[in-house]
Amino acid sequence: MNALESAFANLKKENKKAFIPFIAAGDPDINSTKELAITLAKNGATVIEIGFPYSDPIADGPVIQAAYTRALDKGIKIEHIFKAISETSAELKRTSLQVPIVAMVSASIIHRFGKEKFINECSKAGFSGLIIPDLPVEESLEISVDIKKAGLCLIQLVTPNTPKERALLILSACSGFLYCVSVSGITGERDKIPEELIQNLAWLRKQTPLPLCVGFGISKPEHAKVLREHADGVIVGSAIVKHIETTDKAGLDAVKNAIANLSASLVGALNP
């Protein structure tokens, strides 16, 4: 069983919900990426999403784009990310923290790097799965075979405007967990959980045994409290990245403190 699948299986046994934080690799710098990932793992993360900085991230909102720009301005390269994640994986193993890591990466980067080589490097670095937000299911059929062969999961997204028959096609090509986008739009913090989302989750639940995790706009313990009744986990991106951005000047310990506190409050709301 893939580490991602085991993590969700264990969670289910304990009747708990998943907390999936996101950080952009290289933000504020590549040396901090390992430290921040370990901090998240120690503070209740079930899975950690690592974003590969990209120059033209159309699915991301201003907060994550700004993090990508900061990382790219410091000259981050893909090889640095694989190195940092290898070290993170080794450290997690050493400390017996079983927290799988997934890559959030644009199709553009994978294509240029070379599909086989990219998957191979992901595997070697200890990634358990990939999210390719700009690769719709029709375009992902080929790469999904290679990802599966490498023992990794390919996490697919469904959105509020995905028609039901299309959602079924997406489910058939998805592994690890299903990324349920809360609203039509880009990543970023929002105030409310839409009623329509709750109905979609109920429908999806009947179609698939895959864990359902909700992302885009999840930032507050109140969101987590509502969603714990309907989903298997929440993905928190912009809120974490924003904390990194605002505390960075005070040094790495301040950043670690800030994201540890945010994680604790979200985990507390998810699993009281």
């Binding site: 990209y54 120059s55 033209d56 991230p57 159309i58 699915a59 909102g61 201003p62 784009q65 700004a66 720009t69 790219l72 390269k77 893909i78 644009s106 199709a107 553009s108 980067i109 994978i110 294509h111 240029r112 790097f113 937000p133 700009d134 690769l135 719709p136 299911v137 029709e138 375009e139 697919q156 997204l157 469904v158 959105t159 405007n161 995905t162 028609p163 299309r166 997406i170 986008v181 609203v183 039509s184 739009g185 880009i186």
Partner: protein, 402 residues
């Protein structure tokens, strides 16, 4: 070779291996809806009639195919004919596509229009179409371009369009496309995105090419009527590639007609110094499509440069990549200095100020014409007028019009 060339994209939206859709799931339904509606519109005679009526009465089509006598004499070879898209309302070819897509949006019952713009020509064309058809319109424009193209910003605002400055990344066209796509992801239910070039996810490259094909169709007929034969060579400038796609497409199956696309050579072939995507780039993904792109080894979009603000785009339409790889169209480039000299020459010899994009095509056409006999004909897509570039040309020459 030509007989096998695809005229429409396949079921996955590809021309050969190029094209497709590399966009977030949120946009897929809107793209499906647009594809279905466009397929209906193609077959709907009343839609086509309405489109052509606006092209005729509002845009002022057909545009002239004009014999440039003094440029011809200067080149000393083939006869040079200019397809005068600069004489269209708003001064460039962009209006053909904006009118077509605004009609499509109306047909789909959309209530709002968004667009991106670089130099501002597509923004002005879309603002124009939105005033005409009473759509609220927002145009995304890089902060850097807003500074360089104040007049176009004023024109858009005068027609009731909201110009939204883009302050991310390089603050130019590429970032404006990103912002427009983001807006569309949140507003896809009631909004249509009028993309300005033959780029982006399927079906945009196909739709834009079709709406611009009026350029090539008219040119082909006019050339036969005026010279009794097809041109030997057809030349057009290529940034994203909308004027070139529209010019070339009706000639694609005329094997005897050579097609030449001219990219921005900037200050030379070093990375960051040009925008010659097909000349110096390689296949990759940008803005939702698989096509030639200018990227670094990690897949990050490269910086581009051209003296022409309409050509400095790091990607190109997927159909051009297809035509390049199939050998049907030859792509070359003209540098900044040559283009500026072309602007000067064309202005002084013909009394016609070309846009800097257009000047690239004029320079290459003169080179080609000089090597041909005087019985041959070279047709140039004269994509736009140079008014918008006067400030920049003066600045480069060390003067200021401010």
């Amino acid at each position: 070779m030509n007989a096998k060339l695809q005229s429409t994209p396949d079921a996955l939206g590809r021309f050969g291996s190029f094209g497709g859709r590399y966009v977030p799931e949120t946009l897929i339904e809107a793209l499906n809806e647009l594809t279905i509606e466009y397929e209906k519109a193609i077959k709907d005679e009343s839609f086509q009639k309405e489109f052509h009526r606006y092209l005729n009465e509002f845009v002022g089509r057909p545009s002239r195919l004009y014999f440039a006598e003094r440029l011809t004499k200067e080149a000393g070879g083939a006869k040079i004919l200019l397809k005068r898209e600069d004489l269209n309302h708003t001064g460039a070819h962009k209006i053909n596509n904006s009118i077509g897509q605004a009609l499509l949006a109306k047909r789909m019952g959309k209530k709002r229009i968004i667009a991106e713009t670089g130099a501002g020509q597509h923004g002005v064309a879309t603002a124009t179409a939105c005033a005409l058809f009473n759509f609220p319109c927002r145009v995304y424009m890089g902060e850097e371009d807003i500074r360089r193209q104040k007049l176009n910003v004023f024109k858009m605002q005068a027609m009731g369009t909201e110009v939204c400055p883009v302050t991310t990344g390089s603050r130019t066209l590429r970032d404006a496309v990103n912002e427009a796509m983001r807006d569309w992801m949140s507003t896809v239910g009631n909004t249509h995105y009028i993309i300005g070039s033959a780029v982006g996810p399927h079906p945009f490259p196909w739709i834009v090419r079709d709406f611009q094909s009026v350029i090539g169709s008219e040119s082909r007929e006019q050339c036969i009527a005026q010279t009794g034969k097809l041109p030997k060579v057809v030349v057009a400038s290529v940034g994203g590639g909308s004027n070139a796609a529209g010019m070339f497409f009706p000639f694609i199956h005329d094997k005897e007609v050579e097609l030449v696309g001219v990219e921005a050579g900037g200050h030379g072939p070093k990375p960051g110094g040009h925008a010659a995507t097909l000349s110096h780039g390689s296949p990759g993904i940008l803005h939702g499509t698989f096509s030639y792109v200018l990227q670094d080894h990690d897949g990050q979009t490269a910086d581009v440069h051209s003296v022409s603000a309409g050509l400095d785009y790091p990607g190109v339409g997927p159909e051009h990549s297809y035509w390049k790889d199939s050998g049907r169209v030859r792509y070359t480039n003209v540098n900044d200095t040559e283009a500026l000299a072309g602007f000067d020459l064309c202005s002084k010899l013909e009394g016609i100020l070309p846009a800097l994009e257009t000047a690239h095509a004029v320079v290459e056409a003169m080179r080609i014409a000089s090597k041909l006999s005087k019985d041959d004909v070279v047709v140039v897509c004269f994509s736009g007028r140079g008014d918008k570039d006067c400030y920049e040309i003066a600045r480069v020459a060390g003067n200021s019009l401010e």
